[in-house]
Symmetry: C2
Amino acid sequence: MNVSELVERTLRGDRRAVARAITLVENASPELRGIMAGLAAHTGRARVIGLTGSPGVGKSTSTNALVAALRGRGESVGVLAVDPSSPFTGGALLGDRIRMQEHAADSGVFIRSMASRGHLGGLSWATPHALRVLDAAGFDTVLVETVGVGQAEVDIAGHADTTLVLCAPGMGDSVQAAKAGVLEIADVFVVNKADREGAHVTVRELRQMVAQVDRTPEEWKPPIVSTVAAKGEGVGELLERLDEHDRHLRATGERERRRHARAREEVVGIVLAELRARTDDLGGRADLDLLGTRVAAGGLDPYTAADEILKALG
Amino acid sequence: MNVSELVERTLRGDRRAVARAITLVENASPELRGIMAGLAAHTGRARVIGLTGSPGVGKSTSTNALVAALRGRGESVGVLAVDPSSPFTGGALLGDRIRMQEHAADSGVFIRSMASRGHLGGLSWATPHALRVLDAAGFDTVLVETVGVGQAEVDIAGHADTTLVLCAPGMGDSVQAAKAGVLEIADVFVVNKADREGAHVTVRELRQMVAQVDRTPEEWKPPIVSTVAAKGEGVGELLERLDEHDRHLRATGERERRRHARAREEVVGIVLAELRARTDDLGGRADLDLLGTRVAAGGLDPYTAADEILKALG
């Protein structure tokens, strides 16, 4: 499959092409330039929902329940699970394959894990690129899910229109952890496993946390939704809150602001990667050897020599 | 003092000008470009000797003893003490002021500490720049001294013609530490405090270490000199070994190779600092905002947008 073929088939929603394109993102392939150029005009339609939360709160189950609910009203759904800890590459992880079985016969669902090997942060263009592929492939909604660990958790808000932060009762530190950095990024809080003891405590703590933030009446106040994702309970209400946030985003211009910021960061990510690559290439430069000789002999000052290199890097 | 005045006075060996120039290095002043251009043609004459070793081996005392010995045969000496842990700036530290008293009336000696705040490594041009100032100011020998901690210890070899690694007996781990990374960088080993118990053990261990390296008969084999720097004992022999190494460097062309590598790294350091500064500037760019809008709207792909930024950075 060459680049134009891959682009054409991705735009038709061909699953193999979509999977191949995301693998190229994982591998930081030079073909991405051509692919992204081909897809650009067909992006911007998908609604991107980010999901994050500590390990054990039920992210995968919640994603599955959301997929089922969205499918139930006829929307197609792409799922991107970003694993910031995995050094893996080359396609679906075990968890995906299990999840895939549930939706195997459903051409309206596409689920894919992406090993980020430090992409979130390091290669900050990787997640936006993969979302771009799913967007261009025509999925109505794209769910991007990441483990709530460190920076990855906060970064996800930069990729999504709406960010869900999942908590669960009986995990003493879940609200504590939420306080640390996710309060700013959560558009909707979900207390999953709400049939467990202590669920009302978790809800109350979150409510207090949300109440402490100063807001004008026009500003969005993150709702707190209780769910039992494994049984599908509360997922209907969650969907309502998501739609409400979507209307809020559109009415206030915040949707465009977020998408602009996301595009901006994607461009910056590419610029940084390119500058880093140029820096790594410095070692092998013959002109640097010649300039070094002149500087060592006192015939040239090091800044003028650096200018020469920077010009050549241009 | 403007740049050309500063250059002119530095070249005359004016102490205030030299001190001011090194402060500008510490502060990463934009005036450095002009200063380095003015000094370039007058560099390359000083012999640069690096000194490193774990805390407590007697680096300052050894430096002082070497200064006295070099002064004794009529050479002028500049001393640069690089402190990689100090966040300080603005001139001489307490230790210097004490040491300065000894040489206060001697216009042939200049001693200066430089806080590196991560310069060694981070701003890798800082130490070479300061050495360049002392070189251009006409000092016959420049001693650069750094605490033997981590990367700073190994980096010093990149700045010097000859590198001294100091050990002391009764510091069980000094040879062990030496093994870890300084064996490759030591041109001369010094066992200081050689009147202490266990000195012969330290010497023997170093000798075994040096013997384990495969060398052709033409290659330099680091000698091991025993000193009691506080009493000046062994310093005469140390000076002989240093001169021997200097002759070896000149005879084999290794001196030019080292100076070429040093100049090359200085240029690379400036290039990296400039690329880093450009990257930091990305945040405030208006063109990035406009490009972000077009990318978000699907009118432009992120790579073409990145090309625009890179061109503008050019």
